[in-house]
Amino acid sequence: MRSNYRRHFLYAGILVVVFTLVIQWILDLSLPLPDIQGSAQSAAIDNLIGQHVWLIAGAGALVLVIMGYSIVAFRARPGEEDEEGDYFHGHSGLEIAWTVIPLIVVTIYGVIGVQVLAQVTAPQDNEMTVEVEGLQWSWRFAYPEHGEFQTVEMVVPVNQPLLLSMSAVDVLHSFWVVEWRVKQDLVPGITTELRVTPTEEGEFQLRCAELCGLRHAYMLADVRVVSEDEFDAWIEEQLE
């Protein structure tokens, strides 16, 4: 046996830590989320994604470093062309460890996943219903609690929990405002629901996220999140 494995393990271990940080940094740059966290759901989802990035970095570093380290340290050097490697073919303790530890890790992520899901889908007391209708290739909105009218832009008051009650006229569509993070399909024949609370005023874009035919790429609608006063004024305008 050529190898002083204890020394190799030490070096590789240090490199795993270093590379976890490096990969995490690279991923942070490579996976940029939109700057605006436009809804009460956004932060929780961004955090969850951030936690996953650590998992990717850590597990990725572990495998890549041991692989890269082996490539360098255990390569056949000139003159070793006919040599064989060290003879060992398994270790039950290790195998059990790398079954059980990932099991624990995914369980933790499962628990976090359930919590965040509960958080982003939780019903609120004072929800306002907006009826969303998708059709090839446009959107319509109705505000049943404020009167009988339909609009082609979506205007909602800031910090008001919304219950979107959605239906599709022809084929599948999907409701997605990037800044709000969450999305939900619209299905002909049934009503689907999405809960979201816009927290940033401004003008955003609703984009259809489910392939729905020719003009799918351009199935857009303007979304305006406004103050409560502005919203009331807008409702008045619509009712005229």
Binding site: M1, S30, L31, P32, L33, P34, A44, I45, L48, I49, H52, L55, V63, L64, I66, S70, I71, F74, R75, A76, E80, E84, G85, D86, Y87, F88, H89, G90, H91, L94, E95, W98, T99, P102, L103, V106, T107, G110, G113, V114, V116, L117, Q119, V171, L172, W176, V178, R181, V182, K183, Q184, V187, P188, G189, I190, A209, L211, G213, L214, A217
Partner: protein, 620 residues
């Protein structure tokens, strides 16, 4: 000469059969007092009859027809007597090595066709706005790209399994050679129907073909449904054959935990193919009959439910993704010990992890439907089941790096592709859990992030290992070495290009770009989205270029490569203990297992030939 090829005859029969089927349908409609022309019904019957006419013309059912007449037919092995030897590759042939090569070459062809479709729309995406592709054309190309490369992957899987499994277990051939030929040839009418759908208006709902869009679209959908029916039939029959071969045809002493590890991967893959493929057949048959016969399965207009389709579709299509990658992962496990000169670490764990992935893979289809509008209570169980898949997948990675640890690594082209495969599949696997925890998927679903995820899994799990396998067994197949410098050039172009492409896709995805759109908002990601797209397009073209280099290498080396020794890699696997190219009947004598498959570093052999029974194999 051309008419002597089964393939030519098959193609003529298919064309004639299609026309005949269409005419008969129209006459029958006329007699029944209906309108002469109903494109849905007429094209379906035409496509179906044409497909089976191909099988008749190519000669894949000749023996069975004889049997129906009560005549026994001998199983003829060997090149045709009255024709040049190369013609056997274009005709029905029962030798598994020929069939394996037929599969693999067809796979490469389909991969290049499907890849070209992608290059067309990648060029369009290099800049925001509409360039040269129309919206309709774009929507049709993405679906065609998807199914063409999926067909290519299934063919590649079939190619590796058919060529290698009988050789690895020392069997003379597959359990059912005629069924094997049938299962290969049925892919040809299938592939032709798939490509022909483009001329009938194509299919514009992506490879997933979700209704109601797919029940309303052009008649091209019917050819898609039929094509996948044929290709699926190939999967079912091929996997049955492989299962029986592996389970019943092993030589003395080769118990299941002593077979080469690739055979375990094929075992797990075949279990999935044999039991899941029916689901996509059902989904597409229902779509076909909804369109042709007005049955209201999916479109609510007719009383159907669109979500039902998604369940049936993914009940196949999730397990199918493991069909695409498990054989490739088997190739990785197969090659690492050879080039590390060290036993495979944790053979049993790797073998059983394939089975575990296959079984758990049946319980996770709902992770494609988190936003579909199914009952919200389904989300958590599907999340948990999906996260569990990461565990056996992790076992594979850890066992691979432990195999390399302490070895004496060398890096010819096949090893490079094996290492590339591990690194790329790692990227794909690790971007899975983030899609499994529902809340994060509510953001990432139907974005380019998912596109990045599955391209990494499929390149890492299929394309890289397939290349590794091609380079590795090339000397066994042709008796000549490939060009090492060109092989390395291929690797050093494709790997960085792939990483650039895959990360680029993920980047635009997290920036908020939806998938399946012909045009995107250039202000996404603070205006950086367009630059990432340009890089991704350049990378995609580099990948295409590198594949062309490989094809050039293979074609020229088969002619002028240096003669390969019987065992250039000093592998312990049985197929390397016999001459290259492999003789018609592979082994001159039955194999006897005397050691372990991956005991590199020990003197004793894995298998020896039982010379006392030499000649026994040919006696059949």
């Amino acid at each position: 000469m051309l008419m002597q090829l089964g393939l030519t005859r098959g193609l003529i029969y298919q064309a004639a059969g299609t026309v005949l089927g269409m005419v008969v349908t129209m006459v029958w409609r006329l007699l029944a007092g209906m309108d002469l022309w109903d494109q849905e019904v007429v094209f379906v019957v035409g496509g179906l009859v044409g497909g089976f006419a191909f099988m008749w013309g190519v000669g894949a059912i000749d023996d069975w027809l004889e049997w129906c007449r009560g005549k026994a037919t001998p199983l003829v092995h060997g090149p045709p007597r009255d024709k040049p030897a190369w013609t056997r590759y274009f005709s029905t042939d029962y030798n598994h090595k020929v069939i394996g090569i037929q599969y693999s070459v067809t796979s490469l062809l389909m991969l290049m066709i499907g890849g070209s479709f992608a290059l067309i729309f990648r060029a369009e995406l290099a800049q925001a706005d509409l360039q040269f592709l129309g919206m309709g054309m774009y929507n049709k190309l993405i679906g065609l790209h998807g199914w063409a490369v999926i067909a290519a992957i299934l063919l590649g899987v079939g190619g590796m399994a058919n060529y290698l499994v009988p050789l690895m277990i020392g069997a003379e051939d597959m359990a059912f050679p005629r069924l094997n030929a049938f299962a290969f040839w049925i892919n040809i009418p299938g592939g032709l129907l798939l490509l022909a759908s483009a001329f009938l208006g194509g299919f514009d709902a992506g490879w997933t073909a979700y209704p109601p869009l797919s029940t309303q679209g052009a008649v091209g959908y019917q050819f898609l449904f039929l094509a996948i029916y044929f290709v699926g039939l190939s999967s079912i029959l091929g996997s049955l054959n492989l299962l029986v071969t592996i389970l019943t045809m092993r030589p003395k002493g080769m118990d299941l935990f002593r077979i080469p590890i690739f055979c375990w991967a094929v075992l797990a893959t075949s279990l999935i193919q044999l039991t899941a493929t029916q689901a996509i057949g059902t989904a597409f048959l229902m779509g076909l009959s909804e369109r042709a016969l007005g049955m209201g399965f999916f479109d609510p207009e007719g009383g159907g439910n669109p979500i039902l389709f998604q369940h049936i579709f993914w009940f196949y299509s999730h397990p199918a993704v493991y069909v695409f990658v498990l054989p490739g992962l088997g190739i990785i496990s197969e090659l690492l010990p050879v080039f590390s000169r060290k036993p495979l670490f944790g053979y049993r764990w790797i073998a059983l992890s394939s089975l575990a992935i296959a079984l758990v893979g049946f319980l996770v289809w709902g992770h494609h439907m988190f936003t579909s509008g199914y009952s919200p209570y389904l989300r958590v169980p599907f999340m948990v089941a999906t996260l569990l898949v990461a565990v056996p997948t992790g076992v594979k990675f850890f066992s691979w790096v432990a195999t390399m640890w302490g070895g004496r690594l060398r890096f010819p082209t096949p090893m490079l592709f094996t290492l590339g495969a591990i690194s790329v599949f790692l990227l794909g696997g690790l971007t899975g859990p983030i899609l499994a925890t529902v809340a994060s998927d509510l953001y990432l679903h139907d974005t380019y992030f998912v596109v990045g995820h599955f391209h990494a899994t499929l390149f890492g799990g299929f394309v890289f290992p397939f290349c590794a396998a091609i380079y590795f067994w090339f000397p066994k197949i042709t008796g000549r070495m490939y060009n090492e410098a060109l092989g390395k050039l291929h690797f050093y172009i494709m790997t960085p290009a792939f990483w650039l492409m895959s990360i680029g896709q993920m980047t635009v995805g997290t920036m908020g770009m939806r998938r399946r759109i012909v045009d995107y908002d250039p202000t996404l990601g603070g205006g950086l989205v367009e630059a990432r797209h340009l890089e991704t397009t350049i990378a995609a073209f580099l990948i295409g270029l590198s594949i062309l280099i490989m094809i050039y290498n293979l074609v020229t080396s088969a002619e002028i490569g240096v003669r390969a020794p019987a065992n250039p890699w000093r592998s312990r696997s049985p197929e390397w203990q016999i001459p290259s190219p492999v003789p018609e009947h592979s082994y001159a004598a039955p194999l006897q297992v005397v050691g372990e498959p991956y005991d590199y570093g020990l003197e004793e052999e894995y298998v020896v030939m039982d010379e006392s029974q030499a000649g026994h194999a040919q006696a059949h």
